[in-house]
């Protein structure tokens, strides 16, 4: 699934490790989400959306 996590993280000036700390996941999990290798659970997707103050649909795109 395509997502905008990397773009949004970089716009906030956060490192992958820092975002991982905010989301309570490992840096490797942030990398896996950003590269589309791992689709987060609904719970984690909501945490990501709250982190960036957006909706899940504005970050994740299942059409591609």
């Amino acid at each position: 699934m395509q997502n905008r996590v990397r773009e949004l993280r970089q716009s906030l000036g956060l490192s992958q490790a820092a975002l991982g700390e905010h989301l309570d996941v490992s840096r490797q999990t942030v990398i896996a989400i950003e590269t589309g290798r791992y689709d987060p659970s609904l719970k984690l997707a909501l945490r990501i959306a709250r982190q960036f103050d957006l909706t899940v649909e504005e970050i994740f795109d299942d059409q591609q």
């Binding site: 309570d24 996941v25 490992s26 490797q28 999990t29 896996a32 791992y38 984690l44």
Partner: protein
């Protein structure tokens, strides 16, 4: 429970398994008069625990082996690795069973047959448990 609490709990659990396993080796060695076997088993388990303590957090593999891989992706990977291990164990047990049958090795037939039956019953019980829970 937060992930850092889960991480601490997971690490302590793995260390406890290593210690209990090592002590079990030692107890079996002492009881059967093979003290060196017991001491060697305990040393291996303690060395493994020490290695995990030293290496945890350096790579994801070692983090998960040390019981600290608690985020959802690491848990999913751990679950898939456990399923893969279960499948391979089942294959090994079935191979042992049929080889024992072929060689007419009665003890092997009972041991491997018993393990295969236990595996089948465990799977059915786990299936029923998780179906009721979700």
């Amino acid at each position: 429970m937060t992930n850092s609490e889960q991480r601490r709990r997971g690490y302590r659990g793995v260390m406890a398994v290593c210690l209990v396993g090592g002590l079990a080796y030692l107890a079996v060695g002492v009881v059967t008069g093979q003290v060196w076997f017991g001491v060697f088993g305990l040393a291996i388990m303690l060395t493994y625990a020490g290695w995990l303590t030293w290496r945890r957090g350096r790579t994801e593999e070692e983090t998960i082996l040390a019981g600290e891989g608690v985020d959802e992706r690491q848990q999913a990977i751990n679950a898939r690795a456990t399923v893969a291990m279960g499948n391979l164990m089942l294959l090994a047990v079935l191979a042992g069973f049929f080889i024992s049958l072929f060689l007419q090795w009665d003890s092997g037939v009972w041991v491997f047959g018993g393990l295969a039956a236990f595996g089948g019953v465990s799977y059915a019980a786990a299936l029923a448990f998780y179906l009721r829970r979700s």
